[in-house]
Assembly symmetry: D3
Homo-oligomer: 332 residues x 6
């Protein structure tokens, strides 16, 4: 069953307008469930890892359906909490095509997860035998309670010698509870080993203004001594269905570049970054740094061909893409 | 175009699990829009009346889609307000069958409508040439702002000599902003000409505890001198798909009974009461009291055969049912 | 392969609003193909007979799709004509439920079939080895050309000693080309052995005004000496989904009554009469008169449980219903 | 999490023709997964029990999808085996309506489960802390290997003092590997505490020919000393959508009768017996015998309103039906 | 609400084979409504203009559904006429892909609109406060009545000093009522300020044979003195899903060229020209000529990413594409 | 009706995960029917030829549905045999996209066709007036019985002077009944006039190891004197939705090259080779060798734009693509 990996974060119901219809047209929404951290958990479960997701759901059947979704795809849900307070976060999704952009309307405030408190979790049971904890910058942006919960998780993980990764993932529209990212994020980042961050994230969450990734990484490693590895992806958006993707990995003062993929006929780009993160965790656990980066990027590319928030692909499929085998063929 | 009728109230998106699936099963939701008052507006528009709905929507495409839904079915939406605050209220619906109940999970707190303020509306334009104003007990239950808005509408209508109807419609799960129904409702009811109320409504919103409709009506007419007419429906629920429906109308100290209908193979019972209300308004405008009651009840019966919240049937169809013509036939 | 049976008539595309939606609601139509005579042909093909349908389609892919539908269900389409004139007749269908009626909006004028001329068919090849010809009162109602075509078919069949059946099926909304039913129908009926007719049909197409079936039959047999057998069905419509069905057969001065079936949860009643006709033809070919009637009626009952215009059931299924075996069970 | 209950048996993919279409019509199949024993496991999971299902799947994504289905609905799948031999059993389902029967075409021979061998399972881990083992007569009918596996499971359970239940469920079309039911079943039944059996099962699997349930039970208890409790359901089939259901329980020489339910508008009757079995296990664990029987029957009734093979209802819903509360209402 | 713009023309129901199926395959049609002029009206309504569409529908629910479609998307339908004559025009659509072409089968003859007469409209009310009238070459091609209606509208608009635009849009398959384009079109064009015309249109409707746009425009301006502005689009069709689009605008002896867009993954190209027309009207009302052209072209490009006949995009989306912002991104 | 062409082979039901979902996600399968030889038969029927398919189906409604599918698309099914043994072969299909491959899971062992015996067919009736027999290398790979049946068909065809074509189509996963391809295939190939073979086929089925097509053809023509013509296609797979296709034809010592097509936005590549084969048969019957090759290749390209296993395109559409006319346009 691979290694035990803990993720923590909000899970939302995605309501997706189908058949390329716009919000104004659709009379039907397809249901998916996702969240930046749960997407990582589901993806890693497909890669054979034992993943445990920490979250809270409202105590009704929509919360139960969200939980069942995680179970269906192999995530251990035994540490999920049902609360009588709060709601299930939602987001509505309109799939772009050609030059028309994809759009998301969030309806996530007041979620049960944003109300989940440290004492409601069995931390020792959660972290028993665990190898990795993963968090993202979305959690501390939701509420003061959530920010505190995230910090608690990181501290407890570090106490037990567990590797911690964080996807900085700055979102301007969140952070509405009175704190600014720079009030909160530095403390979290400082205790994190592996981060994903782009230049905007460096600036907003680490107060590092640089115009290239390598320089930003050097400065980050100086400021935040816990960080050992930083990665980022680069996306060129020609249209909603045609994009290029590559990535960079910084480790031990060295920058590793990746291949670049042309993606045409994109099915669903939501969760592309989370698929990269899941691939990177897997790669760092089982491969060297260059291989880890290529694995992570190939995982992310395949995600764009998978509908839904999480990356339902196997190690074999990712490794085949890395070496250019079977690309787009008909496998009988 | 019939008469100008004003309705005021929240409009929600209904997300309906399809094909008889339970919340735990569905991966698709059908979209309808509805609200107790807007359902009345849409239904009356099908009956040839000029209906104007007053509400507020969030200023994004989900709000726009809700508004377009009203336009599609002939409601004048020119007095609808778009706010940058609040969200679109939602409710999730699971259709029962046989002995399994239908269920609704509401997710409606914080709607834009609950934030709509009196000064944001052009009252004179709204009521120009209007014959009727309709409100329900849901609006004052949403927020103090909404309760005040409802009162304002009623007062302005009465000032202009417009008939006012109210569906008392007590909902225990609402009323969470600190006021109790008896703090608010009596003042609204006192200025209302026509109400729909069952025994629970009499008790909770008028402090009238009686065990039969006629006695409650007599007492109500004593306490609330504006009331001229009171109606109620009676439903016997054998199963989710098999029910009986009848109704009573109180006017001028007299109780009018109705026929009773057996409904088997019910398609969608949501909005059955609103269809009755719409039918009653039409009936009171154009027919005598006994005819109005039978028209209202037949309208409500037909609603159970129409999917969605509002009653998309015509005067001809309702009148045919009243006289027992064409029932369930194949009309070529 | 059973016996060779010829049917002649228009085939329309049915566009059916799905999921119980009304015309005003649907954004999707399910496609079926049907016509009173083609329904008989398809049904008889399921009963193991060799059926040949005579019609004309416009020479484009909608006509081809209609033709393929007949082929799919085992009808010989080798005598179907493609014309560069005319269109494919259509009808739109809204399925009723409960007390709400089902409705059809026809859009069938100007069909290719209504333009099909006698000389465009290979009559000798069509009737070679044939045992039966079936026509309905819809064909002579379409156009003068169609009325003439129908007469030609009947005359040629009689010349070859082939049994002829006709479903009188009077439709007030047709007959728009200047002739009245009584101008045309008597000559056709006079050459027909087996007819289906209700009291309205007797009056409008045979000028026989009686208030009971037996008396009408006696008079018909006096007026039209070719007639040997007359049948009719009786439907009690409680609602769109709950009806009762029984039938009568007149032969040789005797009236045979049938069982009566209660039908609840009706799926699709269109083509119920054509299913009866197909069952009757099969019954008269292979069974005695009482058995033929019961077979025809049971076939018609089962049709109400089959979606689409034609009756996709087997001899075994019909015979099981006649003896009350397996009714509504789960057959593994 | 309730009690640990072990079930063992084949899981098939159900391919269900949708929208009331017949096999000859459908161009789409809805996917469910089910099997008599897995249905019990899923149902008990909804009732709050910790269920573990033992089976084998082919080692490809269809097997994985079947396994994920069990996980989704809360069944512990950690003891499921993936084999490189065998296939996923399938069954095709056509939903009947009115007098038209439902039909199943099985395509289940050669399944991976029928090849699963005793030594491929970790019996001690499976039965650790377990309270109950459930098997059905389908497993010994599949293959000699499966019959042996079933016997092994029962013996090991009895050794550990675990209660054993068996649904005798005789199926004539299985038993094709050379053994007869009476060669195999008596040994299994003899070690079983609680059985479900109808008169046909008594005759074919226990060589008990009686014409009433009580007499058969008495004789069974004499022949098979391990049996303590026997139950059966009685179904009257008016049509595919209208049936009556009641049940009997024999325990300690006493026969307990149940209420009788009228079921109209049946959604899906497959798994009705398994829902009864699951309800009975729950009832026998937590209630007295009469209550257990009523609980089991109400569970089975609700199953007929739930699409899919397993009974996705809660203890609260079943108990409400037992006391006649909320039947078919709209719960807000 | 922007400016009041009047459009006049036939509205058809589009029946679109779904999921890339061919006419021969589909058993389901998706419903859209469209017509060259109504598409302009709907598109301009999304751009914030007050649009009024003039047409006629048959007096049944298909006509009502078409009318509701216009209302839903913000078009004023108060001047639409319901006639007891004529039918709703239809067209069937098969979406091409790759090298396989898209196809339309029209079934539009005999529409209610083609029978609509001048005296059935309230011209003064229609044109009150109007800024613009738009017509296309399809209307005069339908019937002599329609040609006369179109001329009347243009004359009355000019009398009131309203700008008139016309999309010449020559269709060979129409014009079946005995008149030729050159009998009718010159008089209409002569009173029109802004036209869209390609070289085929110049030749067939204006008797101008030139092999380049500029020369044709010069000659047109000489012949038709009312014309001030002429535009055209140029499409390169690599496959059904990959095309290039650019445009030209002639005004005041000057030709303005546009950018060229590569469109890959086209969703629906029907109405691309009407989206250009709507964009051009908006542009000419609010922008200079070069900006108007770029706005119109960008609008048309976005239409190819929107399903249905009309262009459901906003001014903001079009302007973003003009400046290359957000192209194909994920907007949260 | 063109020429009579006989095809022989297994027909499977394809269960296709829809809407780009993976096997792990889908809860619905779309149904198609196909098989390498039946695909050729259906395709040739669309090209106006009289095709007769020889196969066997299990004697239940799934077999009947498969047979009806062939009838629907114009194939003569009068020589199809229903057996009480065996099952309907199935395959599950997951459509790839971008770099994610398409996948097939076969579930075809034990089909009725693999049990069909020579004496169960009326060979003289089958081959009466026939011009062509087509077989593929899949049939001899299924079972010894099927291999013998295939040989019988070829021998009988050659006796009657009928042209024989074979698509060698080596599949490693079949051939599980104890024989190797080289035990069986040479005898079949030796009696075949026209083959399709790639280098893998030459090696595995003809023991010809060459690294280019021309050399392999020369050697094949030496070894197998019946062969007159050999063709092959060449596919470059950039991704699941973007590929290049070209072809070669060898005849009379000469190699004819074809154009190369870029295919983007591929809808369904299954049956691409069978479409080529059908086009080649048509081409060799009606055109010269170069034209035949181009026709076959264009047919195959268009197949990639058609959903389902067979190529539902006309001669006109293929010829238009050969000359580059109408490519991807909107044909009204």
């Amino acid at each position: 069953m691979g290694k035990r990996i803990i993720t923590i974060g909000e899970v939302m119901m995605r309501l997706a307008a189908c058949d390329h219809q716009r919000f104004l047209q659709t009379d039907r929404y397809d249901v998916h469930f996702g969240g930046a951290e749960a997407n990582v958990a589901i993806s890693l479960a497909q890669l054979g890892q034992e993943t445990v997701h920490i979250t809270a759901f409202p105590n009704h059947d929509l919360g139960k359906a969200a939980c069942n979704y995680l179970s269906r795809y192999g995530v251990d849900t035994s540490h999920i909490t049902y609360l009588n307070q709060g709601r299930l976060g939602l987001y509505f999704h309109e799939t772009g095509s050609m030059q028309r952009s994809s759009r998301i309307i969030y309806d996530r405030f007041g979620s049960s997860f944003s109300l989940l408190q440290e004492h409601q979790l069995s931390w020792d049971a959660i972290f028993e035998d665990a190898h990795w904890l993963h968090w993202t910058g979305i959690t501390p942006a939701l509420s003061e309670t959530a920010a505190h919960l995230c910090l608690t998780a990181i501290i407890k993980a570090k106490e037990k010698g567990i590797t911690v990764s964080g996807d900085i993932n700055y979102r301007r529209n969140l952070w509405q509870y009175g704190k600014q990212p720079l009030d909160i994020m530095p403390e979290l980042i400082d205790k994190t080993d592996v981060i994903i961050a782009g230049l905007t994230d460096f600036e907003n969450c680490m107060a590092i203004k640089e115009d290239n990734f390598e320089a930003a990484c050097r400065e980050a490693q100086t400021k935040f001594q816990g960080i050992t590895t930083i990665a980022t992806t680069k996306r060129d958006s020609i249209s909603a269905s045609e994009q290029k993707l590559s990535a960079l990995l910084y480790h031990n003062t060295k920058v590793y570049p990746s291949k670049s993929y042309e993606m045409t006929g994109i099915i669903d780009r939501i969760g592309g970054g989370d698929a990269f993160m899941a691939g990177l965790i897997y790669g760092l656990l089982y491969k060297d740094h260059q291989e880890a980066l290529e694995f992570a990027l190939a995982a992310s590319v395949l995600k764009h061909a998978v509908i839904g928030d999480a990356n339902l692909v196997t190690v074999e499929e990712i490794e085949a893409l890395v070496i250019g085998k079977n690309t787009g063929r008909l496998l009988r």
